[in-house]
Subunit: 220 residues, 2 copies
Amino acid sequence: MGRDQAMSEKKRLSPQERERQIVDEAIRFFAEQGFGGQTRELAKRLGITQPLLYRYFSSKEALIERVYQDVFVGRWKENWQSLITDRSQPIRQRLLRLYGEYAEVIDNREWVRILILAGMKGESLNRRYLDQVREKIIEPLCREMRFEAGLPDPDTLPLDEAERDLVWSFHGTFIYRGIRKWVYGIPVMEDSDTIVETAVTAFLEGAPAALSAILADRLD
Amino acid sequence: MGRDQAMSEKKRLSPQERERQIVDEAIRFFAEQGFGGQTRELAKRLGITQPLLYRYFSSKEALIERVYQDVFVGRWKENWQSLITDRSQPIRQRLLRLYGEYAEVIDNREWVRILILAGMKGESLNRRYLDQVREKIIEPLCREMRFEAGLPDPDTLPLDEAERDLVWSFHGTFIYRGIRKWVYGIPVMEDSDTIVETAVTAFLEGAPAALSAILADRLD
DNA sequence: GATGGTATTTATCAAACGATAAACAAATAA
DNA sequence: TTATTTGTTTATCGTTTGATAAATACCATC
């Protein structure tokens, strides 16, 4: 009543625009409600009717699949792997940059919650994402830590499971902070630079000792 | 056909037995399916009819509430806090024992997944659990780290946010391993003693340096 | 400005789902 | 044996929910 034209007066968007709009809102929506969220409410938020969703996605599952794509695949930076292995820079420097960027991606409600939701649902795409993390971050970083500690290359002396675990734990430091903040709603340290510096310092100081302990009995 | 008596031939259990049975299965069931799991399927697993659930719990929500109680409240060990503050033992020893026990509780599919599910749902009980972790583990451990590093007591020099963050990250090491294993289904190191030792070693070696860096400008 | 294509809505279905009431049956007591 | 209690099932209700088909309205083109 009064003025019918509220905010988004535009109707009849182009298919590209509408699809983009739906996906963007779906990411926010499912991140909040979980994948149990109803298509009707999603439509309501978009200011469209529920059947219109099915013009763009054949099923709710298809829409969820698309959400995965946009969140996981779309936000991975290709330079991360090469950043780790660039020995022209000191390891500390490399880690500060890598996890500075990574922390930015993680510090996002949708990213964290959808990662968790996908895990709980046991989606294969989620598995592929973590394979990527392992292959392109964890394993290379293990190799660099060997190098820094003056220990044999993984090609010579295969990685111990405990070594990967140590690096996963360091990596997890940042993920777990995201979970504390975006899943549990606990206040966390917000100064990104300090966060990364503290974590990297603790890791570089602590890892060599742990590494020696792990490999002690395997070295002659 | 043939023998109708399959496995659990017992019918008409006592209210206590039946309730216990329902809660136990509900924990497993919801941990797998999420809280969207249907009461009909839960009943099917129990070999009972769906309406019987409502004889024991007034609603699905009430059953979920009970699941929280059993998982979070029921599995907290009271000795953990006193273990940390017992300075008659070296800090390394204390941490090995505490997280040895804690790791046992965590290494449980139901515990990890229900903790996550509760977080995603934003339940207050979940919040209370994490308050307990902070109050009875994180804060005391911060105090002990100050002591070990020969730094002023938190009563004298209040804790910096970054200090809590550092300890949360150490704590998260164990949680994140549980998430990797029970949410993402990634293989993790299974030797509990080695896990704890590696994590504690890395923490005790790395934390002092990080702590000094954090407090550098606040100390005279 | 009529026409055709298509983005969007209206109307509706069928199954899923939480919940309730009444009927049934197993144990206990008289 | 009969009576009484109560654990359990059968039958069913009212919504909710993903999905489809037909009708409608916006927009470009001739």
